[in-house]
């Protein structure tokens, strides 16, 4: 098959390109800033999903509409703390532009969404659920939700679409290796270095961590075994705040945060430096410290070739070990300040 992967240089996109290559497909990778992909044979096409026709010239657009059988849309802004307009432009409008290409090419679409389109609803989240009047924890979730609405509309108009919803994408299942340290890694860094010592959360709140290779594997599985009209949770294992506390305590140099009842947490009581870290960085993740969500993946299980990672604390330990080996965690490095400076840009 001839397959276009948007966000080909992203965390998930790179893995997907490599797998599709290995499976013998002809892969075109739409990239924005990055111009090379390590360990990949994908043919790279510079583009911009925020622009009409993905910012492609007429010839390239025509070539793609003529050639492409399937599109994997993984281009997205996934880190937190950016302006709302940026999430809308990349994640929502970008999806609208990809839908236009899919329609023009008559291609199947695998849309990479997020399990967290469920927003702050607690309890068991079904793959079939989408609009429950939920409140969103951040602009990212909201933009991905709106993108899914567009995708569902296109599906009802006849487009062959599968939605794959990863939870929090982290390092590989066996090795913990990851190409970039974002999101949960930033949280781990701030907490383990004691930059923020108390967070408003519950011991039984939990997040789901999924290894990046498992997300890519599910997408590759769906390429071979179409799941048109279905939504699949690409989830891994649940990690509670208590697990987080216990696992951080296994590292002598790490600090373990205090969990303070959310109703009484006050950032004003923090010292100046800690408050700055809280307000500018960690508060972006605040609602994840009190959510009690469990993602049902019955539908995905019917397509998945791999075994779901079952032991959350063990995987958490693995990704932390890798981050320590890579030098991101374990000793105060300039990374936090750089990240702090980058927020809000």
């Amino acid at each position: 098959m001839k397959i276009l992967v948007t966000g080909a240089a992203g965390l998930v996109g790179t893995e997907v390109c490599a797998r599709l290559n290995r499976n013998g497909h002809e892969v075109y990778g739409l990239v924005h800033h990055v111009r090379t992909l390590v360990g990949n044979n994908a043919e790279l096409i510079p583009g911009d999903v925020t622009q009409p026709r993905l910012g492609l010239d007429e010839t390239t657009w025509q070539t793609l509409t003529n050639k492409v059988d399937l599109i994997v849309h993984s281009a997205a802004i996934t880190d937190f703390g950016r302006p709302r307009e940026l999430y809308q432009a990349v994640n929502t409008t970008g999806t609208a532009h990809v839908l236009e290409l899919a329609a023009a090419a008559g291609a199947r679409l695998i849309h990479v969404s997020t399990a967290y389109v469920c927003g702050e609803q607690d309890g068991r989240i079904l793959e079939s659920a989408l609009d429950a009047g939920q409140r969103f924890g951040n602009h990212y979730e909201e933009s991905k939700f709106e993108a899914e609405l567009l995708v569902r509309k296109a599906a009802s108009d006849g487009l062959a679409v599968t939605v794959v919803r990863p939870s929090v994408v982290v390092g590989a299942a066996r090795t913990g290796v990851v190409r970039e340290f974002k999101n949960i890694y930033v949280v781990l860094k701030l907490l383990s270095e004691g930059r923020v010592t108390a967070i408003p959360g519950h011991f039984d709140a939990c997040v789901d961590l999924v290894p990046v290779d498992h997300v890519a594997a599910l997408i590759a599985d769906v390429v071979e075994k179409p799941a048109d009209g279905l939504t699949l949770h690409a989830v891994g294992s649940s990690v509670s705040m208590r697990h987080l506390s216990d696992v951080l305590a296994e590292y002598p140099s790490f600090r373990v945060p205090r969990y303070v009842a959310p109703a009484t947490f006050s950032a004003a009581s923090l010292g100046d430096v800690e408050r700055a870290y809280w307000e500018r960085m960690l508060s972006l993740y605040e609602s994840y410290f009190r959510r009690r969500q469990h993602f049902d993946d019955t539908v995905a299980a019917g397509f998945r070739g791999h075994k779901r990672a079952a032991d959350g604390p063990a995987h958490l330990r693995k990704i932390i070990d890798y981050a320590v080996r890579a030098g991101y965690l374990g000793a105060p490095l300039p990374g936090v300040d750089e990240a702090l400076a980058g927020v809000g840009r």
């Binding site: 590292y251 002598p252 205090r258 969990y259 109703a263 009484t264 947490f265 070990d321």
Partner: protein
């Protein structure tokens, strides 16, 4: 051999006459005398081999014949054949059991007394050269671990212990080298005689002249044991199973195996906090003595580039984690955790982890109870509500007694009506506190004196920190959260529902008018 054939024959006859042996059984003289070692005090070891597949009992029978102690064991052809095949086919030689190897070695190198044909037939299950190669590798693995352990101890400045392990490694390397040269006798006690038989090789003379740790390590390599050169940069700090770090206020506590609690003095804590798993040991800097203590207590593990270092002496228990005598500091606990004896202390507490956490949380709660009760007392006195005041006084007394008992590790606590009588659970009698408590709960007494007496008995810091200032109170609450983390790790139920409510409410002080 130190015995003649005639002597052996005579001993064999006398022994067989005393046991019920099958007529077609083989008999073997085995062990040190058969090897050509031994002396006038050495035991005579016979092995009776029944020509059958079913197992025979392995306990020896002991006789005293001609002034010598004679042991005779029985085994079947099937048993011995299975042992030999297990060794011959082993894939992971280092995991072979030393008793199994010992049995095989003694059989292969024994002196046949009856039915040599049967003995030879059973010996065909494994070639002696192959057995010698197995022993060479097996001893080399022992030597490797001992020397790596010595390199680690040396890198941490523990030179005397390093020398002991380097010497043990050298002895094991010599056993490996001897096995390569056909000398496979397992127990180290006859090593000198084994080496005498190989004295033509100059390595033997070097063995007896080698002394220092560095020379031992060099000779180990020359004896053919690879992978344990004096290269401390290969030592990596690794995470042991089930060791966690819990900071309570400023104090660092370690929980080992979810069972033992260690409290670190300030200097020890600084060294501990510098440890990063996966980093080379030599890059940690810090204090070798303290790091060596952490290794010794199993609080950190050191690998040789990822391979575990597990030194042990043959026929001895493996070198495991050491547990020191508990530190008997009294009282054991304060709000901020245990009290280390000195800045370099790595003190084991005389309480199991679960009881430690339970007592500490009850101690925090005792403090909060006192604070709460005193607030109520003040309000009641302002409004001349005497019965309310009496009840608040009793609660303040109970809170104080709870805190005092917990600070000595009493957990679970007696029920409130039995708290005064429960003072007899403390190591020293507290007659004045008991008297004041009785007076206060009977409408008299001096609460301030009671609190001062409890404060003195509980070691000051334990009780009640919240009285001193609003900051002190906030500190108590923050520390309550610190304890919660440890309690959650140990699957601990909070001591009281009220404590759970308090902490779940974010530490809002129960009875104050304005939120803090």
């Amino acid at each position: 051999m130190i015995l003649s054939e005639a002597q052996i024959e005579s001993l064999a006859e006398q022994t067989l006459a005393r046991i019920d042996a099958p007529a077609d059984a083989a008999l073997l003289l085995e062990g040190s005398i058969a090897e050509g070692f031994g002396n006038s005090r050495s035991d005579i070891d016979f092995l009776l081999i029944a020509d059958q597949d079913a197992d025979m009992p392995t306990m020896p029978t002991i006789f005293f014949i001609d002034g010598r102690r004679v042991e005779i064991r029985t085994r079947s052809v099937g048993q011995i054949s299975r042992h030999l095949l297990e060794v011959g086919r082993a894939k992971t030689i280092a995991r072979l059991d030393e008793h199994l190897l010992n049995r095989c070695q003694r059989f292969l190198r024994g002196y046949p007394v009856r039915r040599p044909d049967l003995i030879e037939k059973v010996r065909e299950n494994v070639a002696y050269d192959h057995f010698a190669a197995v022993m060479t590798k097996w001893w080399a693995e022992y030597a490797r671990h001992s020397v790596r352990h010595a390199v680690m101890l040396d890198a941490l400045g523990q030179h005397d212990q390093a020398a002991v392990w380097a010497r043990a490694g050298l002895q094991q390397a010599a056993k490996s080298w001897a096995a390569r040269n056909g000398e496979t006798y397992l127990e180290p006690k006859w090593l000198s005689l084994q080496l005498d038989r190989l004295a033509a090789d100059p390595l033997v003379a070097r063995y007896w002249q080698t002394d220092t740790t560095a020379d031992c390590i060099r000779l180990v390599a020359d004896l053919g044991v690879t992978g344990c050169a004096d290269t401390p940069d290969r030592l990596v700090v690794e995470r042991p199973r089930e060791v966690t770090t819990w900071q309570i206020g400023d104090r660092v506590h370690l929980v080992r195996d979810r069972q033992d609690v260690f409290v670190l003095g300030a200097e020890a804590a600084r060294t501990w906090r510098r440890i990063i798993w996966g980093r080379p040991l030599t890059t940690l800097g810090g204090d070798g003595d303290l790091l060596a203590t952490f290794v010794r207590y199993g609080l950190i593990r050191v690998s040789w580039k990822g391979a575990a270092i597990a030194p042990r002496l043959p026929l001895a228990a493996p070198l495991g984690s050491v547990t020191p005598a508990p530190a008997m500091t009294q009282p054991i606990l304060s709000i901020g955790g245990a009290n280390p004896r000195h800045p370099r202390a790595v003190d084991l507490l005389p309480l199991p982890a679960k009881r430690f956490a339970a007592a500490a949380m009850a101690l925090v709660w005792g403090n909060i109870m006192v604070e709460n009760a005193v607030e109520d007392l003040r309000g009641a006195l302002d409004r001349e509500q005497w019965r309310v005041a009496a009840l608040a006084t009793t609660r303040a007394v109970n809170g104080g007694l709870r805190a005092l008992l917990c600070s000595y590790g009493v957990s679970p606590l007696p029920s409130d009506p039995e708290l005064i009588a429960g003072l007899d659970l403390l190591p020293d009698p507290q007659p004045r506190i008991a008297q004041l408590a009785h007076q206060l709960t009977s409408g008299g007494g001096d609460l301030a004196e009671f609190i001062a007496a409890v404060r003195a008995a509980a070691g000051g810091e334990a009780f009640p920190s919240s009285f001193d200032s609003a900051d002190g109170w906030q500190h108590t609450l923050d520390i309550g959260y610190d304890w919660l983390r440890l309690g959650a790790y140990l699957d601990q139920q909070l001591p009281l529902d009220e404590a759970q409510d308090l902490l779940a409410s974010g530490g809002a002080q129960p009875h104050t008018k304005a939120a803090r």
